[in-house]
């Protein structure tokens, strides 16, 4: 199987999961007590008004019919209309999704860039001081709530030291005209990085810690592989062994963990966006829930699911790329 066909095959496999996500959110949204119409029109609306609204959003029809309608809608790219904002859900998401993606990607970049060296050093210098430090860092990393890290960072770096802003985010591709205090593209980028720094660390710490742990144990295993012994027996320098022979094999479990970490990180984004008052997908879904805006709830949850599934497929393909056994295996 070629890599391309393998990828296509993975995408096909993901479809049932997406339908499942819609089913779950549809069911949950349906369960939400309270009448959205009431929220829109106040406690004593006129009967005609209610009926008009219900007809507009299809609320007068039975649940299974609405589910089918919704499903076909999703298939054609229509996620419905937000009751509260009275705007298409998709439009709202397109507005907010990039913010969350920027946050997520930078957090993962931070996590991977710090975790891999930490894990490798830890494995190579097992039971030496460097290893202990790295293990304590990762232990604390997996044990600390991300939002608390955010709060502490804000107190220290924003309030006391004043190095970074405490709230908000600037998108790197924003129009300089819309960004206060920025006249040039470079200024915008600088501000974006400036704003991004604290939330990135708050969100990325957990991932960093998890990846360090798995990188360490995976490297330890790999360094004991028979092929490493063989390389030593053929006089390959220790640095090459670590960098090449042991390293690539050791990345396979790491990739899996990165893929699984996406779900946690997306959830963490909700908290990070709250702490840093960033208007991303996380805030959107909290607002939607508070307003019982169930079209929006379904839409955003679905997008979270899509983001996760896409991420997992990418990691799967990366795995297949690194491990020849996956794609050539069934020949």
């Amino acid at each position: 199987m070629s890599l391309l066909r393998y990828s296509a095959w993975r995408v096909t496999q993901a479809l049932p999961v997406l339908v499942g996500i819609i089913a779950i959110t549809f069911f949950l949204a349906n369960q939400i007590p309270g009448d959205p119409v009431e929220i829109m029109l106040g406690p004593t609306p006129a009967q005609e008004q209610v009926e008009a609204i219900q007809a507009k959003y299809g609320l007068d029809r039975p649940a299974h019919e609405r589910f089918i309608t919704y499903l076909t809608g999703v298939a054609t790219g229509d996620l419905g209309t937000s009751i509260y904002y009275d705007r298409p859900v998709l439009e709202m998401i397109i507005l907010r999704l990039p913010v969350t993606l920027v946050l997520m990607l930078s957090a993962f970049a931070f996590a991977i860039i710090t975790a891999i060296p930490l894990g490798v050093i830890s494995a190579k210098r097992r039971n030496e001081p460097a290893d202990h430090v790295s293990r304590i860092v990762s232990l604390i990393g997996v044990s600390t709530p991300s939002f608390w890290i955010g709060l502490v960072l804000i107190i220290v770096f924003a309030f006391h030291l004043g190095w970074f802003p405490a709230r908000g985010l600037v998108l790197p591709w924003a129009d300089p005209a819309d960004v206060r205090g920025a006249a040039t593209r470079f200024e915008v980028l600088r501000q974006a990085a400036h704003h991004l720094f604290l939330p990135m660390i708050a969100l990325g710490t957990l991932q960093m810690a998890q990846i360090t742990r798995i990188e360490r144990s995976s490297m330890v295993d790999s360094l004991q592989g028979e092929y490493v012994k063989l390389a030593r027996a053929y006089g390959v320098p220790e640095s090459t062994i670590v960098r090449k022979h042991a390293f690539q094999v050791a990345q396979l479990p790491v990739i899996t963990i990165v893929g699984l970490g996406l779900s946690t990180a997306l959830g963490g984004a909700v908290l990070t966006e709250t702490v840093f008052e960033i208007q991303g997908m996380g805030r959107l879904i909290i607002t939607a829930i508070n307003n019982q805006d169930y079209e929006l709830i379904m839409g955003t949850t679905f997008m979270f699911g899509v983001a996760y599934v896409v991420g997992v497929i990418i990691t799967d393909i990366a795995y297949a790329y690194l491990d020849p056994r996956v794609t050539y295996g069934d020949e």
């Binding site: 709530p145 107190i155 330890v220």
Partner: protein, 329 residues
Amino acid sequence: MALGNTDTDDVPAEGADGPDEGAGEVEARVGMRYTLAQVKRDTTARIGIYIVGFITAVALFASIDYYILDYAIAEAILYDPESDPDTVRRLLPPFGMENQFGQGVLEHPLGTDHRGRDIFTRLLYGTRVAMTVGFMATTIGLVGGTLIGAVSGYYGGWIDDVLQRATETVYAIPFLVLVIAFMTAFGRDLRFAMIGVGITAIPVFNRLIRSRVVSIREEDYIEAARAAGVKDRNIILRHIIPNSFAPVLVQATLQVGVSILIVAGLSFLGFGAQPPTPSWGQMLSVSRGYMLPAPTFSVWPGLAILITVVGFNILGDGLQDALDPRINN
């Protein structure tokens, strides 16, 4: 540092070669007694036990004080302006407290919150919520995940496929979003938080149990039991479950920590324990409004969460080392 000696997982079976390598070494150490002895020998695991034991004791104390004594002890020790002076007075004599009205024996060691309540007391009470939710959610995840994983792994085929797609779907929705949606649908109270977090733990245990079952099912001793004519039910009860126990125990320990983190996050967003029930996440949520004037207000509940979760994590790591069949002295 204590982390030092946890790392015995990879001493290779040297000194032996040939087909019968290291007979009697791999899988050599079994049985509850051995496990406990091993855990006790492991410094890291011991620290984990102390932390978890301490937090559990505090949680028990807080529960007794809450349900049976109606806050009496806490208030006797630490003054709380919102408490009812009568209760305090009623309970004072047996405890031999000198103070007559309201004032606790200790000043506020960690200060008071925005409403003048003692932070230390509220932290102590927070353990109750954290531990209850942690244990209950883990139990729900464990039971649900074990059932699904065992059925899935043992029967295989389309049952496996359907169940695995379903749990994958649950996993695909970020934990926090799923629990929030769940609580919005069913009610913003602690019970639903527990159930919600429990549901998110199901895929984790399912994945673990299923892979265990699938690999144990291939072991020769399972086939030997089948060849001997042992009933399926007995094979599951007597061979598969006992042999899956170790990694599940480790995961469950870690999962308590994870659940505590998730519930703290929920409370922070206003979906966890509702006021006035003290919970760490909710304290953090409130503290956001006072970050400038009272930064320490944010620090204490966070540290409480950190220490508790660290406790569970190192206990889990220690157990893993102790139960690892690869350990070979």
